[in-house]
Amino acid sequence: MRIEENRPRDAWHVDEDDLRAYARGELAAPALWSADAHLTSCATCRGVLAEVSDVAALDAGWARLDAELDAPRPALLERLLVRCGVGDGTARLLAATPILRRSWFGALAAVLITTFLVAVAAGAAGRPTLFLVCAPLLPLVSVALAYGPALDPTHEMAVVSPMHGFRLLMIRTVAVLVVALGVGGLASLALPGFGPAALAWLLPGLALTATGLALTPRLGPVLAPSVLVCAWAAVLLAADAARASTDGPLAPFTAAGQGVSGCVAALGAGLLFLFRDRFDVSTRGVA
């Protein structure tokens, strides 16, 4: 060992207490770095380290390493989520969200293309109305597809787990909303010339999503979003009949309409929080 031969005599050695901490894996940087560097070149300290190392702790260290090597490598989506700072448990829960896993990428592509085509058609007509009418349904439908007994094969096991159903719902909802709103936002950018008006779908979208979720314990995961889709269509038809000129914006996309949407979104979120315990048991008739 040439390095050792070159070691200056009477050199500094790692403190024995530090070596004990090092053996337990508890030595913190920068002392850890010093110990690491020094141990590679000092046989004396390596000898001391071997003496002070607790055999049980060493075994535990090997077991930890063994478990790390043994655990299967998570799928791409999970690794990406962990890379983005999501906890590994939450990442696994998200990876099990049906819509984020199975046909999600296909669906995402379809939605992107459709939205873009709608945006182009709307752009050609000179007004973003068509896009504004469709876009709020994107987060509502995405969230509705993200959970529920029809699409989650492990729904029954998830319901009887101690993790609160509402927490699982929120984890999945936030993930799906981030994606759906991102897609909608990108599509809005494809509508140049309308400025902030192209984002008028956002608040109605959030209002529909929050209300849809709040109604789910009562109406079920299919009927609740369906009712909301019909309600949105009715609101638009009424707004169309009531508007003063054919050139003016529909009521939901005016400043007053945005205010109402914001209030409904807040109300829906409040109701959702009030009803949170209802997400903790299966809806009746789900066998």
Partner: protein
């Protein structure tokens, strides 16, 4: 056995689906060991299991699991922390590996520490003999293996109360035998409620058996007591006896009849199945235990 503190204690559980009475005033006490739940289709077995597993609330009645009452949100969570549940048709995320799936259930069961959780996942997969295929995707596993993955998921966290809904359905005889061994092992030191169509499951595994029909408990006792219901009420004949409640030709060619034997009939040794048939027939509605 009846003097033991019950793990599960239920009284007057009733549940209606529209006009259908799925559960009708069911009361029971479960103690450690495997209790079998027998009954024909539509008897209410799955409904009872789903109520006891806190998946659906009952209309009336109450129950406790290990001293916790699931009527409140808090109590329900405490019950769920002590529960392992294998549903009748367990669902899987087919793209997950066996390890990832059981790990997913472990996360739902609040095992937060990654290292401990992974150790527990490996333990339960080893327990159901799937240690070697833990990295294989669930869609590539056989039906019997998937069923064992579901059992492993139910065993995560070492629950004190294990609810298994017809776990041996769809398994071939060898797999069924292997599964029975696993359930017998799981029943050591914990309370297992096992619903099944198979009287052999009960005969081989259970220290106690409950027979349900039309949402109500028809019999509650030991397998030996259920068999004893048929004592003196089983006989063999060369032709099918028209007075029998049930009769079938056996492998030897003679008929085995269950019911009230005619004078001079040749009595036969009763089995658990004979007792079950007689209880279902409605002649015996008395609950013994």
């Amino acid at each position: 056995m009846t003097s033991m503190t019950p793990t599960v204690s239920a009284s007057g559980l009733s549940l209606h689906y529209g006009r259908t009475r799925a559960l009708d005033d069911v009361s029971l006490r479960l103690t450690p060991g495997v209790t079998g739940l027998l009954g024909p289709n539509g008897a209410g077995k799955t409904t009872l299991l789903r109520v006891l597993a806190t998946a659906v609330p009952a209309d009336r009645g109450a129950f406790t699991v290990l001293g916790h009452d699931p009527a409140s949100a808090r109590g329900r969570q405490e019950v769920r922390r002590r529960l392992g549940y294998l549903p009748q048709t367990p669902g899987f995320h087919p793209d997950f590996t066996a390890f990832e799936f059981v790990d997913y259930v472990a996360i739902l069961k609040e095992l937060a520490d990654r290292r401990e959780r992974h150790r527990e996942v490996r333990r339960v997969l080893d327990e159901v003999d799937l240690g070697d295929v833990r990295g294989r995707r669930i869609k590539k596993l056989s039906g019997g293996m998937r069923q064992r993955v579901a059992l492993a998921a139910a065993l995560v966290g070492d629950p004190g109360f294990l609810v298994l809904d017809e776990p041996t359905v769809g398994l071939d005889p060898e797999q069924r035998m292997r599964f029975r061994e696993l359930i017998a092992g799981a029943g050591e030191g914990r309370t297992v409620l096992l619903s099944t169509h198979q009287t052999e499951d009960v005969a081989m595994l259970c220290h106690r058996v409950i027979v349900m029909a039309a949402g109500a408990v028809r019999f509650d006792g030991t397998p030996a007591e259920l068999t004893a219901r048929a004592a003196g009420r089983v006989w063999n004949s060369t032709e099918k006896d028209p007075g029998a409640k049930a009769g079938w030709r056996t492998g030897t060619g003679s008929f085995r009849n269950v019911g009230d034997p005619p004078p001079g009939a040749e009595p036969a040794e009763p089995t658990l199945e004979d007792g079950y048939l007689l209880v279902l027939d409605g002649a015996d509605t008395e609950v013994t235990a």
